[in-house]
Amino acid sequence: MSDLVRRTAADLADALAAGETTSVELTEAHLDRIAAVDGDVHAFLHVDREGALEQARASDERRAAGRPAGPLDGVPVAVKDVLATKGLPTTCGSKILEGWVPPYDATLVTRLREAGLPILGKTNMDEFAMGSSTEHSAYGPTHNPWDLDRIPGGSGGGSAAAVAAFEAPLAIGTDTGGSIRQPGAVTGTVGVKPTYGGVSRYGLVALANSLDQAGPVTRTVLDAALLHEVIGGHDPLDSTSVDQPVPPVVEAARQGAAGDMKGVRIGVVKELTGEGYQHGVQARFDESVQLLVDAGAEVVEVSCPSFVHALAAYYLILPSEASSNLAKFDAMRYGLRVYPEGVEDPSAEEVMRATRDAGFGDEVKRRIILGTYALSSGYYDAYYGQAQKVRTLIGRDFASAFESADVLVSPTAPTTAFKLGEKLDDPVAMYLNDIATIPANLAGVPGLSVPSGLADEDALPTGFQVLAPALADDRLYRVGAALEAALLDRWGGPLLDKAPALAEKETVR
């Protein structure tokens, strides 16, 4: 393994600026690493060696001419397969989109290209981002680099595993109920869900429009901030995009890393700790809170009583929106078309039924049916209507908590990574993974997960979640970077140094 792949994106950017390496060299190093370990990890659904190297060569030319497109020009990135990439297959982890090559780029992808980041490939995910383990990918699960028999989280397990396995220094995820933060927690990496509308959703294949948000997946808080600055900001092509400048996230990450937390009020959310949280997860969380106190922060306990209903509200709102969104897969304009067996001259509707049965996996079917149920007349008020009211209550809980605290904190996920297959046919157990991350999506507030250590009982990574008021994303980075710095000091190096080495397959180029 080349030493280059273990370095942070910020470090690589400095090395590029100083002329110590080239984009071609480090893009090749990452492509080699993917070739060597991705057979076991399966973080990628598609690797674009030629395209990435071509973009790397263009980046090196810009640097040589003294005109880099930005600080990260030349640092490669991996993109979750739910974002449209012109000329690169985009499947959303579904058979129904197998082989689909979008004729356009998502705005976020356009921004990556304009900033000069070579795109290594597309990362694995639960089908249409429905899941917490990547086991619902139609192309097989991703494996957690800490233990290949365990889940990498989901839905963005591919992006998290890619950065944890040093296959990419940076990746893009999307977070509808925790799909950036929960994989971050269980793979010992950093993930940020920006404020709703902070990053354009144009070209992001919608799961639930009112909840979806794309964001950075990285190994350090500063790297996440650097990537956030590239992808964030207003986009006229997304009517829900926030028309305001990106908060000063890089500055906040640097300020936080200096370690001074004086004057910062940290709110521990009573409903998101204690019962239901694995012992080692809770222990690392409590230590992390103490480290922030040692750095000068003030701690208060806050109560958000409606959070106990967040999961139920989410599993009504999300399927309702998803069932409408996925109606577009009708076998007519793009994607799979399957003709029903034994039917002569089938109608468009019969073809649509057969296609959707063959093209969608179990979890997608479950959620479409659930959403159809929640929206049907007679049940609408009792389910969808009530869920929307609970959403109001959760927003009010946040507003009142942020009166006494600048940020709220909790463990990111209630447990460490579980074994592949363990919860596959127990949807409710699977849904409980997102219990701490879902409230932020319902209220649109930003959230970050940063590694907090390893649980004593299984030596697997745990995550620390920070939540901030809408549009105050910079606070996540300040607190996240301060905790990261304090923990690095204790550990004597990054948490990922403790991960077992992956077997590298010999590759011939």
Partner: protein, 98 residues
């Protein structure tokens, strides 16, 4: 609140245009009942006077200048189609015989 029955799941799948086999119905119907059971508690949480929230941040209509912008070409729009004929999407029959 009524239970969700196997027949109801079949009907919902029909509304959602998904052919479910008997084996799939056997597999999915009980799971859906368990999921519904776990979210049932929500039906009496919020009082009548609580307004619903459809969207996390306040939204207003967004307008743009009414000027032509480049879009997809016909080739691009058709590039992912399962079947194309005469520069159009080719689809199975829409109407029945009668």
């Amino acid at each position: 609140m009524p239970e969700i029955t196997r027949e109801e799941v079949r009907h919902l799948a029909d509304l959602a245009r998904i052919d479910l086999s008997d084996a799939e119905l056997d597999h999915l119907a009980p799971q859906l009942a368990v999921i519904l059971d776990s979210i049932r508690s929500i039906s009496d949480v919020a009082a009548d006077d609580i307004p619903p929230t459809s969207h996390p941040l306040p939204l207003t209509n967004v307008f743009r200048e009414d000027v032509a912008r480049p879009g997809l070409t016909a080739e691009e729009a058709l590039s992912g189609a399962p079947q194309v004929e005469d520069h159009r999407f080719a689809v199975p029959r829409i109407l029945g015989e009668e």
